[in-house]
């Protein structure tokens, strides 16, 4: 089986025998992983070994699942009270003197909520990481709150979750679910999973799936109706809770957790752009978050700067690489990610500026930040960088290909060298970034996001910027093609088209066809123009983070960029007229 090197033992409790597997050093803090429906402990086979380096990892098959025995009779054998007995028996067996850290997915999380909120487990649980499984009691209150005080929005939330819960009603039908699972559904389930969730099979689900699923139907029948009708009013968590919410979950709405703070005094929220089976599809991210959370609860880490920025739930602990991070939009973007708690790799060809960005990033919330000096147009240097980043920091979760240079001047003034330079940086830089880091992302198969900084000039022709616009138009198209290609792998691609933003691109831009003095003058003049416009790069950074969270494709940022984008779609002729105007330089 996929859980290699696991030490197995059997724990007897309440008339059943549970199959318990252990990995890692028992001297370390114990982390108990509880699986969901219809799964067995093997759903954790990607997560458990990765956690075992740091922790004593314990998994068990819930009664009636995998290699644990089923209660007799089944009806009434799966109540939350009995599942709590099982948990305590396992916890006492594997960690008699020390409270354990709980991690639950799906039904494993639903039952763990019971463990974490009933009196008799107090002092046995040090922390609880919940994913895709609400407390039935909280859920019951959530529903009754919405029924008692319906507003259009709350009714919408109720109906939305009601529709997502179709399978709960289906599982209440007698016999039919069992027949389906033991028959055709059980056979096709692995393929369904692979199609819907894009998760590799690799020994999962196990061959016990049809019986697991048939027995597990009693989890719903024994608990859901009674708890939702009469939810406990004292379901307060007595341990810190980390809530990980996959945003693409087909079965649970994010809104379910809106009022969770009322029940959990110490709550950490995390969100993930993924579907339901995150223990299969995002093991690395889960391991990082579980490790961080458990370690912080254990008090093993000095209290660092806490991320307070927007989207901290989404980017906390992720690895973000930004090129051109020494100034302007790149720097602001690195800071925004740092504020959201991401680890930042700041890349720039100016070493001093890059290390400055990394240093400040650490001050405002990045748990780690590194500076790298690379010219993005240098293929070999980029390859070296990609190798170094992968071995030293890991696979990048968000890549921002931002580095770019400005070039202005008529087509006939633009020399082949000018063309080469602008294409090398603006286009090839992006190609190298996508090719090298995007490949690592795709090979890891755990999603990610690529942001390419194009420009409003990508769709707005101008007689003053032929080379620059061409390079940026290519970036835009490249991004859209890549987005199509990577869509199947959970990797998003965004092209950002900022518009006139107050950065130093103007004062470093090359003006073709004029002498040095005139170039200086134009640089100054355009810098002043951009300064008067005074659109701050921080706002572009915000747009970038938002675009990653929402998975947007093309994002014009400033009002004029948005206006031009609309014109390019609906009145392209007018836009071509504007392209003929002489720029005010």
């Amino acid at each position: 089986m996929t859980l290699e090197n696991a030490r197995e033992r059997r724990v007897r409790t309440g008339g059943v025998e549970l199959c318990v597997a252990e990995l890692g050093d028992p001297g370390q803090p114990t982390v108990i992983l509880v699986h969901g429906y219809p799964d067995s402990k093997e759903v954790w086979s990607e997560v458990a070994p990765r956690l075992a380096d740091r922790f004593h990892v314990v998994l068990y098959d819930v009664r009636g699942h995998g290699r644990s025995t089923a209660p007799k009779p089944l009806r009434g054998g799966f109540t939350l009270e009995k599942l709590t007995d099982d948990f305590l028996a396992v916890a006492d067996a594997v960690s008699p003197d020390r409270p354990v850290h709980l991690v639950g997915h799906d039904w494993g999380s639903v039952q763990s909520w019971e463990f974490a909120t009933v009196k008799r487990t107090e002092g046995r649980i040090a922390s609880f990481t919940s994913m895709s499984g609400p407390s039935l009691d909280h859920f019951g209150h959530w529903i009754s709150n919405r029924i008692k005080r319906p507003t259009p929005r709350r009714v919408g939330q109720l109906l939305g979750q009601g529709a997502k819960s179709w399978y709960v009603y289906a599982l209440h039908t007698p016999v039919l679910p069992e027949l389906a699972w033991r028959g055709p559904l059980g056979k096709t389930w692995p393929r369904i999973l692979e199609r819907l969730e894009k998760i590799p099979g690799a020994g999962y689900p196990t061959s016990s799936l049809p019986t697991d699923a048939a027995h597990g139907a009693w989890l719903y029948r024994d608990n859901v109706r009674t708890r939702l009708r009469r939810p406990r009013t004292d379901a307060y968590a007595h341990a810190p809770v980390q809530l990980i919410t996959p945003l693409g979950d087909a079965f649970l709405s994010e809104r379910l957790y809106d009022e969770l703070e009322l029940w959990v005094p110490q709550l950490t929220r995390r969100t993930l752009a993924a579907k339901h089976w995150i223990p299969r599809s995002r093991p690395d991210q889960l391991v990082a978050w579980i490790t961080e959370f458990v370690t912080s609860v254990e008090g093993g880490r000095p209290e660092g700067v806490t991320a307070t920025g927007k989207y901290a739930d989404r980017f906390g602990g992720q690895l973000v690489l930004v090129t051109g991070a020494g100034s302007g939009i790149g720097r602001a973007t690195a800071y925004a990610f740092a504020e959201a708690g991401a680890r930042v790799v700041a890349v720039d060809r100016d070493a001093e500026a890059a290390s400055r960005t990394a240093e400040m990033s650490r001050l405002i919330g990045a748990p780690a930040a590194w500076a790298e000096t690379v010219d993005v147009s240098d293929e070999q240097a980029m390859e070296k960088l990609a190798e170094k980043v992968a071995t030293e920091y890991g696979v990048v979760d968000v890549l921002v290909n931002n580095a770019g240079i400005g070039l202005s001047g008529s087509f006939f003034d633009t020399t082949p060298e000018d063309w080469k330079k602008v294409l090398d940086v603006n286009l090839w830089g992006v190609i190298h970034g996508c090719r090298l880091f995007g490949k690592q992302m795709a090979e890891r198969g755990q999603g990610g996001h690529i942001v390419n900084t194009a420009s409003a000039a990508a769709y707005q022709p101008s007689k003053a910027l032929p080379a620059y616009s061409t390079s940026k138009a290519a970036v835009l198209m490249l991004s859209e093609c890549l987005r199509a290609e990577l869509a199947g792998q959970g990797i998003g691609v965004t092209a950002i088209c900022p518009g006139l933003v107050n950065t130093n691109i103007t004062s470093t831009a090359h003006f073709a066809g004029v002498d040095a003095e005139e170039e200086k003058r134009r640089q100054k003049k355009s810098a002043r123009l951009y300064g008067l416009r005074n659109y701050p790069p921080e706002k572009v950074a915000d747009a970038i983070l938002r675009a990653v969270v929402r998975g947007e494709a093309v994002v014009p940022v400033t009002p004029e960029a948005r206006g031009a984008y609309l014109m390019s779609r609906f009145t392209p002729r007018a836009l071509r007229r504007i392209a003929r105007l002489e720029p005010p330089l």
């Binding site: 700067v305 504020e339 500026a353 400055r356 400040m360 001050l363 405002i364 701050p536």
Partner: protein
């Protein structure tokens, strides 16, 4: 009537002693009030504490009434109109940065100072404060070189960008980084308009009038009217760094004379100030 402070100022003159005394008084006030700040205090209360402290020590007139900014207001986040400078009911919280800014007139001498600090530890503001040292050096060096004020302004700006910060003195009226200060005649009643003492405003206005005729301005700004070499006199210089929600500044008087000797042509009125001592300790 204001007495214009022109050339021939020596570091040990009685005139400068007066200015130095009031500047020290103001910084003492800032340190005293900063030590008394605690969680829950509002900007208004902090401003009142400054006013009362200085009144008790004989201050009757102001170039401007004391300001206090807490939290992201230290970086002038979303400041659009000058009224936003005035203290609000924003409450101080642990770890929050704050800036106290006051300009008392004492015995006819004016000071205008800015004091940055934080309630407890704030590594970001510490960093900003440390980085301000380079600005103090740059400003003095370039003033001694008699570079046009506008150019110095642009160099300060560039240094800030290189350091990764936003230039927050752009948010001041006319975007000034400094303005001239002069002696102010003591009146029995010192009226103020929008927080600014009328006597001092009168001085500034008359400077502006003279300057306009002679081609210089009492305001050190990024605009064309500051495109002239430093005018002899006393300048209250206030570079103000902003980094996301945190700001830091110092403000103190720079003496510019018409001496030919570079050392004497410009110097900081006093080197024994909290921020200068802090840099010395860090070294």
């Amino acid at each position: 009537m204001t007495t214009a402070v022109t050339g021939g100022l020596r570091a040990d003159s009685a005139e400068l002693r007066g200015f130095r005394q009031v500047q020290r008084l103001a910084y003492e006030c800032a340190e005293a009030v900063a030590a008394r700040l605690e969680p829950g205090i509002t900007e208004r209360e902090a401003a009142r504490m400054q006013r009362e402290w200085l009144r008790e020590r004989g201050v009757r007139d102001w170039f401007h009434l004391p300001f206090a900014w807490f939290g992201d207001r230290t970086a002038f986040v979303n400041f659009r109109i000058p009224l936003q400078f005035f203290p609000t009911n924003r409450r101080l919280e642990p770890g929050m940065p704050f800036i106290l800014d006051m300009a008392p007139v004492y015995d006819g001498y004016t000071a205008d100072i800015g004091y940055s600090g934080s309630l407890g530890i704030n590594p970001v503001q510490d960093k900003l404060m440390a980085d301000l040292e380079a600005h103090r050096e740059l400003i003095l060096r370039e003033v001694r070189e008699r570079r046009p004020l506008r150019e110095i302004y642009e160099d300060v700006d560039r240094l800030m960008v290189r350091q990764g910060y936003a230039n927050r003195h752009r948010a001041y009226p006319f975007g000034v980084i400094a303005h001239k200060v002069d002696r102010v005649e003591q009146r029995r009643w010192s009226a103020h308009v929008f927080g600014f003492g009328t006597q001092s405003l009168k001085g500034l206005a008359s400077d502006a009038l003279h300057g306009h005729r002679e081609g210089w301005s009492p305001l050190w700004s990024p605009y064309r009217f500051s495109d002239h070499p430093p005018q002899p006199g006393l300048w209250a210089v206030e570079p103000h760094l902003g980094f996301r929600g945190t700001g830091a500044k110092f403000e103190e008087i720079l003496v510019v004379t018409d001496s030919g000797d570079p050392e004497e042509s410009a110097f900081w009125l006093d080197d024994d100030l909290p921020h200068v001592r802090r840099w010395a300790e860090e070294r």
